[in-house]
């Protein structure tokens, strides 16, 4: 068949990927025409060659990693739209904050996880807290420099806060009442003091410094590239590396294809062992998995759970498992309209979701049930008393009856970018039908989905979510902001919500967020939140990476990205 | 010939023993220009001429002389840029504007073009193609039509068995004669022929020419005969019109033009014929 209309023209050439030949053989010419047309949509670019610096063997100081995409800008959180998984990868490797969470051992041998109960010096050498818990004093490292050898001092810290708050697209929402650069004072070259609005905010403040928000930049390098119109060199920094203080700096990039990261010789924790990391874009998840199997790359990101389960059988590969996975599947029942403005209906649906089947069938066992969204490893906090997530048709039916219905039709919206969630919808649809829910599944493109989520325009939406700052306060309230706030996708607001905020406020008033007393209030808040069923935490998903056994020091982090600076290759 | 039939109103029955009414086709300052600006090309310079039911007008010229354009203008297949074609004093543009007027004109004036592979619709039988004008223009159908068609075929020495064939299944010469048949079944009063013998085998050219001439004379049919071949044109025509670059360079009784050409172009045409191999000799078919 001459496909004279093909929008993509020729199928993309993927010369040295043997699995494709096998696929071609299996499907026959026409099947391939169909598949090529489809996968051409998916793979605008894909690994054209995996030669060059080695993946699994050869020089161990240079590695190739298969990623699903690259961030369009290096500015991360400073760009309003910088909050993408790809941007987080750069946060972990190009940027460093004043403090960070140390790594501790966890379930998978050779792998570590972040300890969210502890903060240690990073760009700062150390810090201490005043008696009243309102003043944090950071002591800078002696002789510490940026990539080019310029000294990093208190001035860089002051400058970094000024630069964040000066960026129009930077959202300061997660800092709460923190006054930004006004609260940051240079005591001397080696000392900075930062005032925070309440002692209870201290833990989250450290969390923000360590993850996501608190990166320190090299004032000298950025000043050198500043212009009259762009005094903070935002335009320059979007595409050029070297101004961050992370383990790597960006050496070169080809948009949507490849980015090369080179070790920062002046890194706070010493020059990383892996000298060069090539992030290669392979848009198709199956291809990323097969590159892992063939040994063409040393690590692949964003692998589908079923593929992870298959790859786990290969003894030369590590498919990490952690005790408390952070990324979770979030089913938001939008409460600003019928039918989910009714608590009983929400609770009924909560009981109509086949949690165990989802974990087994969609996630191949690589997910765990979740109780609330505060990290269970948090000191002073337990999940005791928070209702279990159970598929219970009879309970769902009786709750629905209490709400005056024997059946309910509604639309569940999902993004096409997350195939696992599309599958999850189908499973929900099949099982919820037995409880009287007729679920229509609606797929939207990622952009449309984002708009629908922040606008709360749909009845129910399904997406993956995570709190990058794993403190109780941040996890618990970030997605439940009061009022018509776009960061609260469910717009949950009722009597239960008032009770929820009473508990949150009581917890936040306590100076030690890791105390048992605080933990009890957070537990009460979480219990109310789960009972209200405005957001249903279906399950937490295990890390999506697969990597070679030759890697040690892989760390599970709150943004689920790789800290190459901690890698050792054997 | 056949029994008299009731034809379309203005078409006189050719079987009427006495003189059928005379039909006159006239061109007045007829002009045809193609294109505009630099690509402007005058195919027919303003010219006047007249064909009536007793005329056999020969139009001769080389290819590109505008003779074919002229013939198409005369039968209403093309629209003049200026000037008029009139039939019995009525402008054909006016006649053609109504379906009934158009049909009356078509029934009176017919046109046969040189055969190409596309002279007939490849998807229709020859019977269908020949019967259509008979039905549309004269309202003759069924057995009556079949009889008339067979009569014309006999006249043209065509096997009626061919009627069930498709145009691709007969020879070019046979197709040319079928094209003539398609026009003659209409019983036109004026017949315009454009290169109708050029595609024919030399052995049958004479017979066809004779047939056309005889038919036109016996049925009082006016003839317009367009050809690049001077001998055939001279043989069949009583009046000769010589065209060059869209212009009439000579126009007069055939005999006068042949014997005493006034224009150098006419002379060169005659010379070319005399020097070249004789396609056909007028006296050989006379």
């Amino acid at each position: 068949m001459k496909n004279r209309l093909s929008p993509q023209g020729q199928a993309p050439a993927r010369s040295d990927i043997p699995q494709l030949q096998r696929r071609s053989f299996l499907l026959g010419s026409l099947g391939v025409a169909a598949v090529a047309a489809l996968s051409a949509c998916a793979d605008q670019s894909t690994a054209s060659s995996t030669s060059g610096s080695s993946g699994g063997s050869g020089d161990t100081s240079e590695i190739v990693v298969a990623v699903s995409a690259l961030a369009a800008s290096l500015n991360g959180v400073l760009d309003g739209n910088g909050i993408s998984l790809q941007a987080f990868e750069l946060n972990a490797n190009l940027q460093a904050g004043l403090v960070r969470n140390p790594y501790i051992d966890d379930e998978t041998e050779g792998c570590v996880v972040q300890d969210f109960n502890t903060y240690v010096g990073y760009v700062a050498d150390s810090y201490d807290v005043s008696e009243d818990g309102l003043t944090y004093t950071f002591h800078m490292r002696d002789g510490y420099t940026d990539v080019e050898g310029n000294a990093i001092t208190a001035d860089d810290v002051v400058y970094s806060f000024e630069r964040k708050w000066a960026s129009e697209s930077y959202s300061t929402a997660s800092w709460g009442d923190f006054k930004g650069p006004d609260a940051v004072t240079k005591v001397d070259d080696m000392t900075v003091q930062i005032e925070i609005p309440s002692a209870g905010f201290g833990l989250t403040f450290l969390g923000l410094l360590a993850n996501l928000q608190g990166h320190i930049y090299s004032k000298t390098i950025l000043d050198a590239n500043a212009t009259k119109d762009d005094p903070y060199a935002m335009t320059w920094s979007a595409q050029n590396g070297g101004w961050g203080l992370g383990p790597y700096y960006m050496e070169s990039q080809t948009a949507d294809q490849e980015m090369v990261l080179v070790a920062n010789p002046n890194y706070a924790y010493g020059e990383p062992e892996v000298k060069k990391v090539t992030l290669r874009v392979v848009t198709d998840a199956g291809t990323r998995a097969s590159l892992m199997k063939s040994g063409d790359v040393i690590l692949s990101e964003d692998i589908l759970p079923n593929d992870q389960a298959t790859l786990a059988e290969d003894s030369s590969l590590t498919v990490p498992v952690v005790g408390d996975p952070i990324e979770y599947v979030d089913l938001t029942l939008v409460t600003n309209k019928a039918p989910f403005n009714d608590l009983k209906v929400r609770q009924a649906f909560m009981n109509a979701i086949p949690y165990e089947q989802i974990i087994e069938e969609v996630y191949a066992g690589r997910a765990v049930l979740k109780k609330g969204n505060i990290n269970p490893s948090t000191k002073g906090y337990t999940t005791d008393g928070i209702p279990d997530m159970v598929y219970d048709v009879d309970k769902a039916k009786s709750l629905l009856a209490e709400a005056g219905m024997d059946s309910l039709d509604f639309t569940l919206t999902v993004s096409t970018a997350t195939q696992d969630l599309v599958n999850l919808c189908i499973l929900i649809q099949s099982y919820a039908a037995d409880a009287g829910f007729n679920v229509e599944v609606e797929q939207l493109s990622a952009a449309e989905f984002g708009t629908a989520r922040s606008g709360a325009t749909k009845q129910a939406i399904l997406y993956r979510n995570r709190a990058q700052v794993q403190t109780p306060e941040y996890s618990c309230i970030t997605f439940f902001k009061p009022g018509d706030d776009p960061s609260s996708p469910s717009r949950w607001s009722d009597e239960l919500n008032d009770q929820f905020w009473d508990e949150v406020d009581a917890a936040r008033a306590l100076p030690d967020q890791l105390s048992d007393e605080a933990g009890e209030h957070w537990n009460a808040a979480q219990t109310i939140m789960v009972t209200a069923a405005a957001e249903i935490f279906i399950c937490a998903i295990q890390p999506t990476q697969v990597f070679s056994n030759s890697i040690t020091g892989w760390a599970y982090r709150s943004e689920n990205q790789n800290d190459f600076g901690n890698f050792s290759i054997s | 010939m056949s029994t008299p039939t009731s034809g379309v109103e203005i078409v006189p029955d050719p079987q009427e023993p006495r003189k059928p009414p005379v039909v006159t086709l006239q061109a007045e300052k007829l002009t045809r220009v193609f294109g505009r600006g630099p690509s402007r090309h005058v195919a027919v310079q303003p010219l006047d001429l007249q064909i009536d039911t007793s005329t056999a007008l020969g139009i001769v010229g080389e290819s590109g002389s505008g003779k074919s354009t002229l013939s198409r203008l005369l039968v209403g297949l093309d629209t003049p840029t200026a000037g008029e074609v009139l039939i019995d004093g009525t402008r054909i543009s006016q006649l053609m504007s109504t379906p009934s007027g158009m049909r009356r004109f078509r029934a009176t004036v017919q046109y046969v073009a040189q055969d190409t592979f596309s002279s007939f619709d490849p998807r229709r039988t020859l019977r269908d193609s020949v019967a259509t004008p008979l039905r549309v223009l004269r309202g003759v159908k069924g057995e009556e039509a079949e009889a008339e068609i067979r009569e014309v075929l006999t006249l043209l020495q065509l096997d009626p068995g061919f009627l069930d064939r498709y145009p691709g299944q007969i020879s070019g010469g046979q197709r040319q004669r079928f094209a003539l048949a398609r026009s003659l079944v209409v019983r036109p009063r004026i017949l315009m022929c454009d290169e109708v013998v050029s595609a024919l085998d030399v052995s049958v050219q004479g017979a066809v020419l004779n047939m056309i001439r005889e038919y036109c004379e016996t049925h009082s049919v006016g003839l317009g005969f367009v050809s690049h071949g001077l001998p055939a044109t001279a043989f069949i025509s009583s009046t000769l019109l010589v065209m060059k670059y869209g212009e009439v360079v000579e126009h007069g009784p055939t005999k006068d033009v042949i014997e005493n050409p006034q224009h150098p172009y006419t002379r060169s045409l005659l010379d070319a014929y005399r020097r070249g191999p004789a396609e056909i000799k007028a006296d050989s078919v006379a």
């Binding site: 068949m1 496909n3 004279r4 209309l5 093909s6 929008p7 499907l27 026959g28 099947g31 025409a33 169909a34 598949v35 047309a37 489809l38 996968s39 998916a42 998840a285 199956g286 291809t287 998995a289 097969s290 079923n306 790859l311 089947q357 069938e361 969609v362 993004s415 195939q419 599958n423 189908i426 499973l427 649809q429 099949s430 039908a433 229509e440 599944v441 609606e442 797929q443 939207l444 493109s445 | 297949l77 078509r106 017919q110 046109y111 073009a113 190409t116 596309s118 002279s119 007939f120 619709d121 490849p122 998807r123 193609s129 004008p133 549309v136 498709y166 145009p167 691709g168 094209a179 398609r182």
Partner: protein
């Protein structure tokens, strides 16, 4: 290619193809042993006596979905092919007839021709996304979108043929026979200009299914879990890499067979449209 050429020469196979297409459109769903839109067992089970084509990534029965998908894909592709071809041929005839005329009709004809050239420059998926975006993703809106995507192609093919045909001498002979221009168009131009569009029907058929699937991939296709071959292929294709070939192979085979059957039917139509003399 050679297979398709062969099929075009054997009318019996054309009839078999037509029969098979109709059979699956009418009875496809009845042949499904399980509910094609429900999870019936565990995910990604390989083909067995219970699940002939295995199960997909959610645990739906692939055989049932392939059978039920026939009713959606073949029916939609047939509708699109017929609508796009009829509309395209009519449009092609109209513009082919009028575009060289003087006056308003000519201007309109030339305008439409330019517009059709323009549609060639716009990727069909973009057109589809816009239309489905405006009308929502239903079988009807998708049929309209796909017909709109496909009809310009049929129109261009027909127009090119009209430009050739209208210079054929039999068109003038038709006028000389007293037929009005419209009669000539319907009697002679139309039947002789349809062939390229009819020959292209099998391409339109196959491409409809592929575009349908691509639209699904972009999130503007039919919503899951509607059993649609293209969606089944696109959602299963990642798994093929690591051995789960059955959720992709069977719908791809079904698609291939449907296109071959459509090609066989188109072959028959082409023979008919070529005219009796050529038979």
């Amino acid at each position: 290619m050679r297979v398709l050429t062969f099929l075009k020469q054997v009318p019996v196979l054309s009839l078999v193809g037509a029969f098979a297409l109709l059979f699956f459109v009418i009875f496809g769903g009845m042949l499904a042993p399980y509910d094609p839109e429900r999870v019936v067992t565990g995910a990604l089970q390989s083909p067995s006596t219970e699940h002939w084509f295995g199960t997909d990534a959610t645990g739906m029965d692939v055989f049932s979905r392939v059978m039920a998908g026939a009713q959606i894909d073949i029916a939609l592709a047939l509708v699109v092919t017929v609508v796009a071809t009829v509309a395209g041929v009519v449009l092609g005839i109209v513009i082919g007839t009028f575009e060289s005329r003087r006056g308003l009709a000519g201007m309109a004809g030339r305008g439409i021709t330019r517009f059709l050239d323009l549609t060639d420059a716009v990727p069909p998926l973009v057109i589809g996304v816009v239309i489905v975006g405006l009308m929502g993703a239903t079988l009807t809106s998708l049929s309209i979108a796909l017909a709109l995507i496909m009809s310009p192609v049929q129109a261009r093919l027909t127009r090119a043929e009209v430009l050739k045909v209208r210079n054929d001498a039999y068109v003038e002979a038709g006028l000389m026979a007293g037929l009005r221009p419209m009669q000539v168009t319907f009697r002679h131009v139309l039947p002789n200009s349809m062939r390229p569009a009819i020959e292209n029907c099998s391409t339109v058929f196959g491409f409809s299914v592929i575009v349908l699937a691509s639209l699904g991939f972009l999130g503007v296709g039919l919503n899951p879990p509607t059993p649609e071959w293209g969606n089944m292929i696109s959602s299963g294709v990642s798994g093929v890499m690591l051995g789960s070939w059955w959720p992709v192979l069977f719908p791809a085979l079904a698609l291939m067979l449907a296109v071959i059957a459509a090609a066989a039917v188109a072959g028959l139509l082409t023979r008919l449209s070529r005219g009796p003399a050529a038979r």
